[in-house]
């Protein structure tokens, strides 16, 4: 117990202090709330069975701004693909490298989340007023904001971005790129982004998390995307962190009438990650595609949790999460669909497909459906398999080599997700990921 108290005290000390912050008290409360609810979730909790984050609680992470020897890298040290984006927000250790480049044009506004928020921006800052959780069968529309690590982010975050697209504007692609380095001390990042699409607008946004660290690191970002009526968002998330960085990230979509979201989470991590993707379909006609691809090599682990809340009639959600697992890679898929009472005409589907390239790779998959309305369509399926021997022979019988044939089939499997990504630079990253799969120990062994 004393140990927990010490950990809690450590995190309370980490809360950034800002003058005139209407949420100053709320932040401390959030951290307290997090620890009151049990602190870092352990595998004994149902939602965290396969997300072993115990280690997080045992490490005294500090915010980067507390780390004295911080030297932000120059922009030319960034990976080449970042150069493909005309519009970008580059962060090193959570600090903007190119704030001078931000410009508001073509209906697109990019900027820091105000260091002192307005009191009515509660949601943007991740705060749900206590006691708001609905009772009975009513859907909890704020459920994603009640996620324990979301609460902790709300308490600890210090840097944030807001992207706004004006009414009927078509903008992007914009890149939000966060890079971190090994600073020789366990460091944590709690960035927060808010993306707002005005009615009838369109945006393509890529959120990428990159960096290597031998010293333990932790990235816990939150992204909130709010879509007005008839807006359309293409959201691509790329997880590239490796080494000893644990990633726990969340993205939440709130959709108004006839809004559409196409989301892809690419886990190209060499470390361990957990990503929670949530969509709240609040008005009739809203549609969301939630897709994901994990290319797992070595001891990488990706844990994908999804939540689609159908809170209005005639809303649609389609989920497709695919995993390619080599070596000892582990994938988790926990997909949840909630159909609120009265949400008739809901059309929800969920698929999790896994390709195992090694005996030691493992998958845990779990669909969860909570249906509280009539006249709904809910389909779900999971498949775990190896490369098809018939297909391999077919390719080889045409002269393609053994390794190449394996690779072609793996690319074909991944292609269903990759080819739909509307940004060439990101498809390129996926291809690099596929090359790492080919070069992995267990490939075609």
């Amino acid at each position: 117990m004393r140990e927990t108290a010490a950990v809690e005290a450590h995190y309370r000390d980490e809360i950034p202090v800002r003058q005139g912050d209407p949420f100053a008290v709320r932040r401390t409360e959030a951290v307290r709330e997090f620890f009151r609810a049990g602190g870092f979730p352990t595998a004994t909790r149902e939602d965290w069975r396969f997300s072993d984050l115990d280690g997080l609680g045992r490490t005294a992470y500090r915010r980067y701004s507390d780390v004295p020897t911080l030297v932000p890298p120059k922009t030319d040290e960034l990976p080449e693909w970042v150069g493909d984006f005309g519009c970008r927000v580059l962060l090193s250790e959570g600090h903007p490298l190119n704030a001078d480049e931000f410009q508001n044009r073509d209906g697109l506004e990019v900027g820091n989340l105000p260091s002192v928020p307005a009191a009515d921006e509660r949601h943007d800052w991740g705060f749900v007023a206590p006691g708001e959780e609905p009772g009975g069968t009513e859907a909890d529309l704020d459920a994603p904001l009640r996620h324990p690590l979301e609460i902790l982010n709300a308490g600890l975050f210090e840097c944030g971005f807001r992207v706004r697209v004006g009414r009927s504007q078509d903008a992007g692609p914009i890149l939000l790129y966060s890079l971190r380095h090994d600073v020789g001390h366990p460091a944590m990042l709690h960035p927060r982004s808010v993306i707002e699409l005005a009615p009838g607008s369109r945006l393509t946004v890529v959120e990428a998390h990159d960096g290597v660290s031998e010293t333990a690191g932790w990235t816990n970002p939150s992204t909130l995307c709010r879509l007005g009526e008839n807006a359309e968002l293409f959201y691509v998330r790329v997880e590239l962190e490796s080494g000893n960085i644990a990633h726990t990230g969340r993205v939440t979509f709130q959709l108004a009438r006839n809004a559409r979201v196409h989301s892809t989470v690419l886990s190209l991590t060499g470390g361990k990650s957990r990503t929670d993707t949530a969509a709240i379909l609040t008005e009739e006609g809203a549609e969301v595609d939630l897709e994901g691809l994990f290319l797992g090599v070595g001891a990488a682990k990706a844990d994908q949790h999804t939540l689609a809340i159908h809170a209005a009639r005639h809303t649609t959600s389609r989920q497709l999460f695919k995993n390619v697992l080599s070596d000892e890679a582990v994938a988790v898929f926990d997909g949840k669909v909630v159909v609120a009472p009265g949400a008739i005409g809901t059309d929800a589907s969920q698929a999790n497909r896994n390709l195992l390239l090694s005996q030691k790779a493992a998958v845990h998959t779990r669909p969860r459906l909570e249906i509280n309305a009539d006249d709904v369509k809910c389909a779900h399926g999971a498949a775990i398999g190896r490369l098809d021997e018939d297909a391999l022979f077919y390719l080889r019988s045409r002269g393609l080599g053994r390794m190449d044939s394996h690779e072609i089939l793996v690319r074909g499997f991944a292609g269903e997700v990759v080819e739909k990504v509307p940004v060439a630079a990101v498809r390129g990253l996926a291809k690099e990921g596929l090359t790492r799969v080919r070069e992995s120990r267990s490939f075609a062994a």
Binding site: D388, E389, D390, A391, F393, Y394, L395, R396, S397, R398, G399, L400, G401, R402, D404, S405, I408, L409, R411, G412, F413, A414, G415, E416
Partner: protein
């Protein structure tokens, strides 16, 4: 002159069961041979073993191709040396584009032959030419390999691949089954156009009808894992009239 394909005393087991039991077959370069035989007699097994599929245990015998023992060669090595198998059941490969796949295959084979690789433009030109000759639906070549193709479309795709890859030995395993009357004629014409003194065909079929279009130099009857009778193209007519029971009796 040594035959292009020479199979002597071939015994093959699958999962402990002997399927081919002392099969002998020779196909000289430039000839087209037909193999007929009842269901389960081992025709597809023979085709797969020629192409080098894993999972078959060759307990005895030899396969020579172009005078070389090929039993130890991987399927891709055989393919690069000019062996082609048109599958009885072509495999669907989701996510792999037909054109991409075939271009990769052509270039592997060209590389082996010491020819320069075809670029996208040259390859597309070649494809377009073959597609037209076979009256193949252009949209199909843009789709994933065989995915959602009808039975007949899959068979035509096999022949399209054959005409693009230009093998020296083409083994056609029941390419005619599933084809409509027009498609059968088109496929047969495609094969006939490719017949040359530099190329041999092994045509596996159940139906004499195909052999009206592709007239073989020799017809062999495969029964219970052995070639039990061989003859000229008229043998197919006799089999059609009398069935296989008689053929077995002849050798008995």
């Amino acid at each position: 002159m040594t035959p292009l394909l020479e199979i002597c005393g071939l015994h093959v087991e699958v999962e402990g069961r002997e399927i081919l039991r002392g099969l002998d077959l020779e196909i000289p370069l430039g000839e087209t041979h037909a193999v007929m035989g009842p269901n389960g007699s081992g025709k597809s097994t023979l085709a797969h073993v020629i192409a080098g599929r894993e999972g078959y245990e060759i307990t005895k015998g030899i396969i020579r191709y172009g005078g070389e023992d090929v039993l130890e060669l991987e399927p891709e090595e055989r393919a690069r040396k000019g062996v082609f198998l048109a599958f009885q059941y072509p495999v669907e490969i989701p996510g792999v584009n037909n054109t991409y796949f075939l271009k990769a295959a052509v270039n592997e084979i060209r590389k082996h032959r010491g020819q320069p690789e075809l670029d996208a433009v040259d390859f597309l030109g070649l494809m377009r030419d073959r597609v037209k000759l076979l009256d193949f639906d252009e949209d199909l070549i843009k789709r994933p390999v065989n995915e959602g193709f009808s039975g007949g479309e899959k068979k035509r795709n096999e022949i399209l691949q054959m005409t693009v890859l230009e093998p020296t030995l083409a083994v056609l395993d029941e390419t005619d089954s599933g084809l409509d009357i027009d498609a059968l004629r088109i496929v047969a014409e495609g094969v006939n156009r490719m017949r040359s003194p530099e190329r041999s065909f092994l045509v596996i079929t159940h139906y004499q009808r195909l052999l009206n279009h592709i007239v073989p130099d020799r017809v062999h009857v495969l029964q219970e894992g052995r070639i039990v009778e061989s003859g000229g193209s008229d043998l197919a007519l006799r089999l059609e009239a009398e069935g296989y029971g008689k053929a077995a009796a002849v050798t008995a």
